[in-house]
């Protein structure tokens, strides 16, 4: 399937522009295309988040060049270009949502600022601060009271109280002095913004603004007077929106929320009409025709009806980074572009993959539409800050591939069956001829091995040759370490009493060795009382008296006083002495 489109986009797209160091940090919600000067040529408007804490800019591109830059006061959460009035020439206004405000730009100049109404303030909190202002209570009492309000109250505390609660004791007084005169305000933050046509569905009709806020509300704002036309509440803060319809007739707002659900709002009610519970968080929300397509964090793309009924689900090869609609009204084409973390952008119509575009970096925002004078332009920004512009070839036909593809490619790959050698075949033949003899020989040898093993085991047990003593009265364990290059070696024996609680007494160690080869400093040592579990190192020195490089075994015996047979025995293979003895 993909081999047909080698190079990813297979000649469907023309590379118009790629600037890998454009320095754009933005999301699909902060990118739009609009004819900002009214000359019939669309500009690209980007709300750049700068470094994420400073350097936020509103950038406008024309062709391949940056045309203008305006500094933004706060992080842009969303950006839309829309018509707010009927004045000629028809020039759209750009609205940038950031913090609690919407900043409007006309002709690339600041024009208007709208601030969302403050939220309801906790009355108890207000009373407490009032008392503080009048000096009735000291800061410490204030803190205690605020603390108790926070625990119980339905209405959350204001920023000021929260900050006050987080302060150390010595900063409280100063803080109260600084802030007590100001009225308490609670402001919310805009999380997403979109437009809704007011009364006509025309391309250049007047639109309202639809704003989702951190306080889990959705506001519809009239763009002329900037009054709130409608307010709707959701169970969780919205993250993405899709709006369709007209305010005066009928509209539908599909909202993805931070709790992983999708809610569908309609004109009549201020509460969600339908709810879709997704198995994972939505990353992208796009409406194609009457269906809503949702990309989820579990690497899936799902289709829903506008009433929230699930239609289909496909699994994608990588996590989704962003999604955008691809609408070509001139050709009646509607699809969805999905940016993936594996540096690909997939184009889907319903659940059929139509095209794959390979990109040099992970795409973070996608915008498709008319740019300059070209209708089918795809604009993408990448994680590294690059800006990419591609133009859809006018001759391209997107053929709907059959939804049931043929057998998977893997079916034609030969199985990797291990080959057998000639030797193997020969051995097989030999086994066929003399299988009985082989079996008998094997059984015979097996019996012999078992016998030999059993004999050796019995012998070891009988003469305590093992380094483990299994006797009930003195369960001991020993291992030996030889250190040094020679001719002097240090021999350390680690003796351990493995009994559960009983100590062992009256033990001694002696050695058996070739006296022509070795000399041991302390050939007989007494072992102290052995407490169970502890490892006792017992050390001595061994001198090699021979310079011929001959080695031998030294046998170590652990003896019990008054008993002739050893408790346990260890055989130490001595290493070759590397040096000469100084005699």
């Amino acid at each position: 399937m993909t081999s047909m489109e080698s190079g990813g986009d297979g000649g469907k797209w023309l590379d118009a522009h790629y600037d890998p160091v454009a320095g754009l940090y933005t999301f699909s919600s902060c990118v739009d295309l609009a004819d900002l000067s009214g000359d019939g040529e669309n500009r690209l408007v980007v709300g750049d988040l700068g470094t994420g804490s400073s350097g936020m800019k509103l950038k406008v591109y024309r062709g391949t060049a940056l045309m203008s830059e305006n500094t933004l006061l706060d992080l842009p959460a969303g950006l839309v270009a829309f018509f707010m009035d009927l004045h000629e020439p028809r020039i759209p206004t750009t609205a940038v949502a950031s913090g609690p405000c919407i900043y409007l730009y006309k002709n690339l100049r600041p024009y208007f600022k709208f601030t969302l109404p403050s939220l309801e303030v906790n009355t108890l909190e207000q009373d407490v601060w009032q008392q503080a202002r009048e000096g009735q209570i000291d800061p410490l009492t204030l803190k205690e009271m605020l603390e108790s309000i926070r625990k119980k109250a339905d209405v959350p505390l204001s920023v000021r109280s929260l900050r006050f609660l987080s302060l150390e004791t010595d900063g409280l007084d100063e803080f109260v002095q600084l802030h007590k005169q100001q009225p308490i305000r609670r402001q919310t933050v805009i999380t997403c913004i979109d437009t809704l046509k007011k009364s006509t569905a025309d391309e250049d009709g007047v639109s309202c603004l639809v704003v989702g806020t951190e306080s889990s509300d959705v506001f519809i704002l009239d763009s002329k007077a900037f009054i709130i036309l409608s307010k709707m509440s959701l169970p969780a803060p919205p993250t993405m929106m899709d709006v369709t319809g007209q305010f005066d007739v009928e509209f539908r707002i599909t909202v993805a929320c931070r709790n992983g659900n999708i809610y569908i709002l309609r004109r009549e009610s201020d509460k969600p009409k339908y709810c879709v519970e997704l198995p994972s968080h939505p990353v992208g929300l796009v409406r194609v025709g009457k269906n809503v397509l949702v990309g989820c964090t579990d690497e899936s793309l799902q289709g829903f009806t506008q009433k929230g009924k699930k239609l289909w689900k496909i699994v994608l090869p990588a996590p989704i980074t962003t999604m955008a609609p691809m609408d070509l009204p001139t050709r009646g084409f509607q699809g969805v572009l999905v940016g993936l973390a594996n540096c690909e952008v997939h184009l889907y119509r319903d659940k059929n993959l139509l095209s794959t575009i390979k990109t040099p970096d992970v795409v973070t925002s996608i915008c498709f539409g008319r740019y300059g004078r070209e209708d089918g332009t795809l604009i993408m920004t990448t994680k590294g800050g690059g800006l990419m512009v591609k133009i859809l070839k006018r001759t391209v036909v997107f053929d709907d591939r059959d939804s049931a593809p043929g057998p998977p490619l893997a079916q034609s790959i030969r199985l990797n069956v291990p080959k057998k050698t000639k030797l193997y075949v020969d051995q097989t033949l030999r086994e066929r001829e003399s299988g009985v003899a082989m079996h008998r020989a094997f059984q015979m040898d097996l019996s012999r091995v078992r016998l030999a093993a059993a004999k050796a085991y019995v012998k070891a047990l009988e003469s305590s040759l093992t380094p483990m003593s299994a006797s009930l009265s003195e369960p001991l364990k020993m291992n030996a370490v030889v250190q040094g290059l020679g001719p002097s070696f240090k021999l350390t024996l680690h003796v351990q009493n493995t009994a559960a609680c009983r100590p062992v007494m009256n033990l001694a160690i002696s050695f058996l060795y070739d006296e022509n080869l070795y000399r041991i400093r302390d050939p007989y040592m007494r072992i102290p009382l052995l407490v169970p579990g502890l490892i006792y190192p017992v050390g001595t020195f061994v001198d090699c008296t021979n310079d011929k490089g001959i080695t031998d075994i030294i046998k170590v015996f652990v003896l019990h006083e008054g008993r002739s047979s050893p408790l346990l025995t260890a055989h130490i293979n001595m290493p070759v002495s590397e040096g000469l003895a100084l005699s």
């Binding site: 350097g55 992080l75 920023v159 609660l165 919310t188 962003t322 291990p418 066929r432 299988g435």
Partner: protein, 535 residues
Amino acid sequence: MQFHAQVEDFSGASGVGSSFSSRPESSAQKLTHKNTKGFESELVSLFFHVSSCQERAPPFSEPCSPELPIVERRNWLIHQHYIRKDYETCKVIIKNQLQETNGMCEYAIYVQALILRLEGRIQESLELLQSCAILNPSSTDNLKQVARSLFLLGKHKAAIEVYHEAARLCDKDWEISHNLGVCFFFIKDFKNAEEHLNTALQINKHDKTFMMLGKVHLVAGETDKAIEVFKRAVEFSPENTEHLSTLGLLYLQLRKYQKAFEHLGNALTFDPNNYKAILAAGSMMQTHGDFDVAMNKYRVAACAVPESPPLWNNIGMCFFGKKKYVAAISCLKRANYLSPFDWKVLYNLGLVHLTMQQYASAFHFLSAAISLNPRMGELYMLLAVALTNLEDVENSTRAYEQAVNLDESNPLVNLNFAIFLYNHGDKTAALDQYQEMQRKVNILQDSSSNLEFDPELMDMAQKLGAALQVGESLQWTKPGKDSKSKPHSATLAKSPSAPLGTNQALGQAMSSAASYNKNIQLPAGTVASRQSLRN
């Protein structure tokens, strides 16, 4: 319902540069913006300064109080990065946000905790979630995550308590009910698990819940209930391959081959690379002797999961069915290498080696299989066949005796023993075994109507019957199918007095199919390709 909104307009055109200037009333406040640190860029605050100077000096009566940044102002950004799995950037933003708000931003802490948990630092994550709970004690999301962390730490009982607490704050939450069900499943309280999962399904249907409920029923041994659950699941989301293949396997287990194949086929239509479905469907094809089709399917699976022991076992048995014995041995040996303690692979290796007349090797594989699974009659029977061919009569007899003791339904075991006894001259004992075989055949025929016996088995049994002079008392097929057995008796009639081979025995091959998943216990799907062994 019109709200009064705060509207400010600007005199932007007259301003220096391109910044917003506010009305004179608010400019006094705006001037103080430059006191806040790092919130606005230098250029902006400079400009405010200029514009306010033009208009009015700040009223001196008001003390300067810096406007505090909104605590939640970066929540959306944190969320955007979190869902895009860009955790590094997310952590940087969270750090900034917590510094700015003095650690009062609940959502930032919450996401930080989730990221830590993803990184495997569950304990630290739990601590952060607890500090979230201090900031907002009534948040169900928070409680749910605390419970989830406890669950991941294996503290199921504690998790259940927290979930109950969360359920008190918001009932009718699918997630809480589902997770409660999972917790109860892990502490083996299947009744409660079932109850909670059903509640979850009533609130909202999710594939996950169906899967879990099915699992609960399977572990509790209620296969029929599990099938019902998966049927509902398939109805709810007809394209979920996991449900389809699981349902198919359950039908396979119940020997409803038609339904099993239907569901497995559906699963393969939606996802041709579904390993589970491929293996199960392949083993069914093998049963019907469609070795080439099965091999085609296995090729797909071999690309996806090249190191699967059951897959190579099945491929090996496909080659065996196609009489490519060397390839069969190669594949089975690979399966054995990948899973040395799987007795089915060893069984098959033994069988193939018997077929190849490599009795000494067969003996080793079979004895290895027996030491792994000492309770299976057929294994002892095969071992006995191998020993017979290795001329070890004494051990062979013992193996047969063990086989007959252990086996309950397979007539082949008794037939082979009978032949063995007959060949060694013990006619009376052979007759006993022959009668035992007849009994088993009758039971099998009673229990299922359309059972067909291997023609070779029937042939051999009839020869032996003639040799033992018991006559044709045994009906191999139901009367309706009598026509089919006639050719066999005809061939038999030609040589009624022919002596049985000096060392003749029947071995039954059983290729183990698709024990793909240890979670769902399937009995070895028996794919019978029977094989006779003659010397």
